[in-house]
């Protein structure tokens, strides 16, 4: 621990997501969501309809939506998100940051046990964080700990992280299941078949590609889950899930497609829509061809009416968006050179670029990953054509699309990218020149590098908000990408399901407060 560390203690503000670096929150009741209405002692067995089986049960390698959703209920993390995506205590009861921002001290919760009965302690945290950093582990969130140079466990209940530079995004980064704290006695091999975590549910049984069942963890450190069991039942066809809900076999399902949600509604099934952090975007590769010229990119921005894309491809189910989608930092969608479609301006920009004759942009789009992709591409193509810009659309199988995307082998890509609550976590890896996805993002600038560095150092919420507003404006002014819209997920529940709260990051963590009567 650093000498003369003086932790500031500040109350939990309204916009505190990433500011939590400077915050110390005490009391485990702080993490209890308001959604925990007391609907009675009802427990019961809930069946969730899902289209696929988790592709892994090892939390550090799980990126598939379904795997993350299951594992999130089994494993614990140092910090957690509440329903508004504020960072709240998890396995760490509180934490403080030294004045120079280079030391973060976590005070761990007492009396936490793993599902197998072993006790949780600081050596588990040290083991986990160090293993995640080890490249041989191939943990997907290793870069979230890039700023961490040392993990120390001075005593059973304290963990001290030493950072190479201040990192205001760290607490938010620690809240995802890819940074789950595993027992130091466990191995990847063992956990692949028998998950063992500190979450509100325990792994019960699995029948590969058919179902996976979780049971209530009686010794959970927080308020115990209401449900006795949750079964994630694999029903590969979405419309068959709807049929299963209508017949009363399945009580909860989350759909992406508004049309499917619409057919599910009615009878004893209600559907709730939740805006998502993930965003639909036309990624541009500003390192290639005509797109190197900012004027060409701006011309494209001016040629596109985001609302029209949303209306035609996604039935208007969503909201037009700027770069940052998390509620606390949301970009003003109209803060860009062309807030509305403006073909004259588009022509001007093209002329400035010396491309009045038009440009051709090779655009990749995946088929099958999400339902709106090809329709978006078609509409974008139609709109751009009116401005003299030709989008040459290449529809690819998801495997081929991923290969091309990873290799940054495209001029433009129609994409649906995941969002994160903290803007640094969301875009730092794309738009800083050293970011591990910068090649794919295709754009960086010294100004952005400076802004992102500033954002990581600042611990003041308002200051950070101002910084990321500049980031957002810089991205739009330079038309790094063409951000389009965010959409909803649709949570269908049977009438007897109570207490579930859907979240903007798609998490099913509030299964812990859910009950079935």
């Amino acid at each position: 621990m650093h000498e003369g560390n003086r932790a500031r203690r500040v109350g939990l503000g309204a916009f505190s997501i990433a500011a939590a670096v400077a915050l110390t929150i005490t009391g485990c009741t702080a993490s209890e969501p308001s959604a925990s209405d007391d609907a009675g002692a009802a427990g019961g067995a809930l069946v969730v309809g899902v289209t696929s089986d988790p592709d892994t049960l090892f939390p550090w390698k799980a990126t598939q939506f379904q795997a993350v959703n299951v594992l999130q209920n089994i494993y614990g993390t140092l910090t957690e998100f509440d329903e508004e995506l504020n960072v709240v205590p998890g396995l760490a009861e509180s934490w403080e940051v030294s004045d120079d921002g280079l030391t973060v001290t976590f005070h761990l919760r007492n009396g936490v046990t793993y599902a197998d009965g072993s006790t949780f302690g600081s050596e588990d945290v040290k083991y986990s964080l160090e293993a995640i950093q080890d490249e041989a582990t191939a943990a997907v969130a290793a870069t979230s700990l890039a700023s961490v140079t040392a993990v120390d466990a001075p005593d059973e209940n304290t963990v001290v992280l030493t950072l190479s530079a201040p990192d205001a995004a760290l607490p938010a980064n620690l809240a995802v299941v890819n940074l789950a704290i595993l027992s130091s006695d466990d191995t990847e091999e063992a956990l692949n078949t028998t998950p063992n975590g500190t979450g509100p549910f325990m792994f019960d049984e699995r029948s590969a590609s058919q179902s996976i069942t979780l049971a209530k963890n009686e010794s959970y450190w927080g308020e115990a889950a209401k449900l006795d069991t949750v079964e994630f039942r694999v029903i590969p066809d979405e419309s068959s899930i709807v049929s299963a809900m209508q017949a009363g076999n399945v009580q909860l399902a989350v759909f992406d497609d508004p049309v499917v949600a619409q057919t599910a509604e009615g009878g004893n099934v209600t559907v709730e829509s939740t805006p998502q952090l993930s965003y639909h975007v036309l990624q541009l590769n500003a390192t290639r061809g005509d797109l190197q010229d900012v004027n060409v990119r701006l011309a494209l921005q001016c040629a596109i009416d985001r609302q029209e894309v949303l209306d035609t491809a996604a039935l208007g189910e969503g909201e037009v968006t700027g770069p940052i989608t998390s509620p606390a930092y949301r970009s003003d969608p109209s803060s860009r050179p062309c807030p509305e479609r403006d073909l004259d301006k588009a022509a001007e920009y093209l002329e400035k670029a010396g491309k009045s004759g038009g440009v051709t942009i090779k655009t990749i789009v995946s088929q099958g990953e999400y339902s709106t992709s090809v329709n978006e591409a078609q509409n974008l193509k139609a709109q751009a054509a009116e401005a003299g810009i030709t989008l040459e659309i290449e529809v690819l199988e998801s495997g081929a699309y991923v290969d091309r995307w990873i290799a940054a082998d495209f001029d433009a890509a129609v994409a649906l990218n995941g969002g994160r609550p903290d803007p640094d976590g969301m875009y730092g890896r794309y738009f800083t020149s050293t970011g591990n996805l910068n090649a794919v993002a295709g754009y960086s600038s010294p100004e952005l590098d400076a802004l992102f560095a500033e954002g990581k150092q600042s611990s003041d919420p308002d200051e950070r908000k101002a910084i990321y507003e500049q980031v957002s404006d810089h991205l739009e002014d330079n038309a790094a990408w063409i951000w389009l819209f965010t959409s909803y997920t649709y949570t269908a529940t049977a009438a007897d399901v109570q207490g579930f709260t859907p979240m903007a990051n798609g998490s099913l963590q509030y299964l812990r407060t859910t009950s079935v009567n």
């Binding site: 870069t143 299963a244 017949a247 591990n436």
Partner: protein, 314 residues
Amino acid sequence: MLRRILAAIATLLGVAVFVFIMLRAIPGDQITAGLGTEAAALTPDQRQALEAYYGLDQPLIVQFFSWLGNIFTGNLGFSSRAQESVLALTAQSLPVTLELAIFSIVLALALGIPLGMLSASKPDAPRDAFGQLVGLAGLSIPAFLLATTLLAVLASSFGFNPNGQGYAYFFDDPWLNLQQMLLPSLVLGFGIAAPIMRTTRTAVLEIRSNDFIRTAKAKGVPPRRLQAKHVLGNALVPIVTMTGLQFGYLLGGAVVVEQIFSLPGIGRQVLLGIQQKEYALVQSTVLIIALSFVIVNLLTDLLYRVIDPRVRAA
């Protein structure tokens, strides 16, 4: 017979090579299939660690022969997604598809043979037209169309959807299992009834015009006995051929119906394997399907010898 077995082994070897090459021609590997675009964030060392984990770091030729060699020791590979051996997975999924195939074939025979004989009993009469129409419907209505319509209508109008409950293996819950098999085998059986009906009809008509039946008639064999013993007996050969063909086809061809009715069969195992790029899983499963196909063909041949008087004589 020995020659046929040798030929079958050569065929299986060909299937092994073919499926191995084709899988690797599909863009992406197990790493990108699992991580999606997140795979772009992997460092070279991480990527290497994952390639070693999935066995993708070996040269292709080594991958092929270690897979093939393992098969002879009974090791069909391991599915990291399911965390089970391919053998164990197939031991669960193959019986599901076999059960489905058997039920479908039984239903198809129960529908197709009587219908074919009815049609043939009086060509060009209304009953023939009826039989032909049913057969035509079976040939022409796509299984997935029938399946989705049945499922949606029965579930939304009658709340009947046994397939929405988790799959019940026959020995765990026979009653639920039979309910879950009902709709899918009806759908498949209806489709297969068509070729069986047509085969029956043609065979019966053909045999009836044959000399020995005319002779039997002239000799005064009662028509009912004639129909049962001589006509059907001789029509059995083409019917058995057709049934064997359809059965073999069902082993891999039921995938759409398995998907719609959430049956954890072998077709879905392959489909999932292709999506997840689980090479060993797909290779071994396809090989097992091909093996079953070859065995069914051999059995059909053997059956010929039993039922066809001409082959027996030869």
